[in-house]
Symmetry: C2
Subunit: 460 residues, 2 copies
């Protein structure tokens, strides 16, 4: 039997898809200060969408960084309260030349919406809003109490979120958080994310002198900054692919038998994964499977490096400066602050002769997150997904980071249930990011069914 909410969503598919494309046209790149106006447009757009969906209390609140959109629809004291988390910001788009169509001119090809932010995560959050809208238009109210928090700094590590949560603890109180930021293991493989990695970010700025020099007059006798940087970067890992920073693994929880079994339960095709990644090969820390590496082992990644001449042709210069951007993905019980200190010490200890370096920490460190497997919100999500997919959802982890999850635990004492629809090959953070039109529609139906299930199972 099709519910009124389902029928409403069915009848408004075109308008809802149009709104999605509209949302994607806003280049809300949080990493680039030049996009300030676009970030603010995206916040305002999100707030208006909530208001038009029927949410009575909606505000765009300033922070030290980009604004946070909050909303609240209190229905009854005996109903469970869910705080629905997401972000309206997106990743930068370079290298632009690898995009088939412009990142902020969304288009639909082969049942997919292409555009920066389509999968990560404007489609998911808009589906939540449209689910609420369906309740508002058909029943006059949602089946549970809902609050909303949509930030604009997830892609830069949520630096303003901790202070924001601390100062708005009261209005954000909830039984648990629903995060719409994440995905499914596959189009026919429902899954729920119960573990996320933490994050620590830094930049190394290395110098070998104060000026670039003629490589003929000086190159044989002075240090070369790009070469020194390459040597330093090479010291970060050993030959087996392990991170060679002293102390890096000291607090890492080794995988238990249960952990290995849970990871093993998720179907995984190495060659299919490699092919989706469009990578020449799969490589990583020795002693662990690809899935264990992705889901449960910490990493140190070089996100970018540069130094010296990048123009066309040749330039016989000995450069004096070189730079690297680095992020670490962390697992329980690594602490971002500890890891950053260890890297700083490693850099100081491993500088090649004649090189000096400064390490700059980027804001937005995040602790790793793990959800108790018996959490009632998780159980309700399992029930809901089972009814849509006709099979038990897998419990999975993600190598990704949602800093908010650890912060909700720390600041609100609330666990986070992640329910979202991005697919592994959606090319989040990469050129040609996409989201399936069918998943966008399914998401709104699943969220509405989830709210109904929560109303039944968590009523006090």
């Amino acid at each position: 039997m099709v519910s009124a909410v389902e029928r409403y969503l069915e009848d408004h598919q075109d308008a809802h898809l149009a709104a999605f494309l509209d949302y994607l046209r806003i280049p809300s790149i949080s990493a680039l200060p030049a996009y300030r106006d676009e970030i603010e447009r995206a916040a305002t757009w999100t707030a208006r969408a909530l208001t038009e969906a029927g949410v009575p209390e909606v505000e765009v609140l300033p922070t030290d960084g980009w604004p946070i959109v909050v909303g609240r629809w209190w229905v009854a004291d005996d109903l469970p309260t869910v705080l629905i988390y997401g972000h309206y910001d997106v990743q930068p788009v370079d290298p632009l030349d690898l995009w088939t169509s412009p990142p902020f001119e969304p288009g639909i090809r082969d049942g997919r919406v292409y555009g920066r932010g389509s999968a990560d995560m404007k489609g998911n959050y808009l589906a939540v809003i449209q689910a609420i809208e369906a309740f508002a238009r058909t029943a006059g109210r949602p089946p549970i109490n809902v609050s909303f928090i949509v930030e604009g700094e997830e892609e830069i590590g949520s630096p303003s979120l901790p202070a924001f949560l601390r100062s708005h603890r009261d209005r954000l109180g909830c039984d648990f958080v629903l995060s719409a930021d994440g995905g499914m293991l596959g189009p026919d493989t429902p899954s729920l994310t119960v573990g996320l990695k933490g994050l620590a970010s830094l930049q190394v700025d290395l110098t070998t002198g104060e000026t670039d020099l003629h490589s003929g007059q000086f190159g044989a006798a002075v240090p070369n900054a790009p070469r020194a940087l390459a040597q330093l970067i090479s010291s970060f890992h050993d030959d087996s692919g392990r991170v060679a920073i002293a102390g890096f693994y000291d607090r890492v929880r080794e995988l238990s038998e249960d952990d290995r079994a849970e990871i093993e339960a998720a179907p995984f095709d190495e060659e299919r994964f490699r092919s989706q990644a469009m990578a020449h090969a799969l490589v990583g820390e020795s002693g662990y499977s690809t899935q264990e590496r992705r889901w449960a082992r910490p990493t140190l990644d070089i996100n970018g490096l540069w130094g010296g001449f990048e123009g066309e042709g040749t330039k016989t210069v000995t450069p004096c400066r070189a730079h690297a951007k680095i992020t670490c993905r962390l697992v329980l019980d690594q602490e971002p602050g500890d890891i950053l200190r260890l890297i700083e010490r490693h850099v100081a200890d491993h500088l090649p002769p004649g090189a000096q370096a400064t390490v700059t920490r980027f804001p937005g460190s995040a602790r790793p997150f793990s959800l108790n497997r018996s959490h009632p919100g998780l159980q309700a999500a399992r029930t809901t997904l089972r009814s849509f997919y006709g099979q038990e959802p897998l419990l999975v982890r993600s190598g990704g980071t949602v800093p908010a999850t650890a912060l909700f635990q720390e600041e609100l004492g609330a666990d986070t249930v992640t329910l979202a629809f991005m697919l592994p090959d959606c090319r989040a953070h990469a050129p040609d990011e996409w989201f399936r039109v069918s998943d966008f529609r399914l998401a709104a139906r699943v969220y509405s069914a989830f709210f109904t299930t929560l109303a039944q199972e968590l009523r006090r």
Copy 2:
């Protein structure tokens, strides 16, 4: 007794300096195709300067690359003929933020002309032209037969010069070549360059896949291109600072006792050199002194490297592409083609797992050059310098490369005597390049005296 030529140069100092500044205003950056018009302006400017100086036969000749300016003033069959070589092109100017004043808005501060190309080498060549002008205006002709060749591709390795020399062999016939591209050991230390290094240039383009990836979803399980590039670059040298490319040193002539004595004879202050280089330290191949490294040992230099995210802040990306620009400085008897082949093989043999790479050779390889110490042109230059500086000029080498020198030997059978006035701290190829006003004036006087000496000593 002051000669008529000397008096002419004295009387025209202001106009000659103004012409120098005018020449420097042309941003003739040969490495950047976008500067095509400026390159052609510089060629035309050079040709006009020759014509206005009195040179009867002047032409701007096209090549497959940038044009070459040639000129000829034939005086008498029994006079020696000197082909005067130089280049009107300049190096790129980045990093632009390290320039005190804009590179193509030359200014005079503390007796120095600042601007890209001031030392390397518009000042030197213009001084030659002004010396010829002084003879033309005072004696109606120069004391020897002179031809001129001014190319626009020296800073990119003179790729068009070999074919040009081959097809214009007749008009370029000469007793020897005078190169005005080089310098003196110090303001009070006259020197003549009798050895130059060769050059081989290439770019390594490394990939680990076909798309950049989310470092959380993929980073732990796929190769990282910047990291792979750093590992590859680190393999190019061993811990003692020697190039670790197999076979790199096979054809290198070890330094003889005479070589070491000649190098040792040139005064050299390590700390002063380091300070002029603004380098944190001096480092290089073990087993050799700083001067031996600079003048007589081959190198592999990283001129630039880049890959992944270079913007502000952080981006959690696993980049799939990284690049390095590399030049080698070569010594007798290394062959550029051999060295490039060895590097290609090394790259293929040292790629980290999951990485692929292509090596692109840049045109403009150059063989190393050495001048016979008893060459009559060299002797005449020694006599001339002795009379101006009151001391015997030192015979020195340069770590730099003038590809033309080897080409003149190969194509014209002509040796090259280098007589020029750049100083070691003139910051050639670097920000804030400068040339002393007094050296610009001295240069014209020395070149005119050199021509007179040649007329006396080399007359048939």
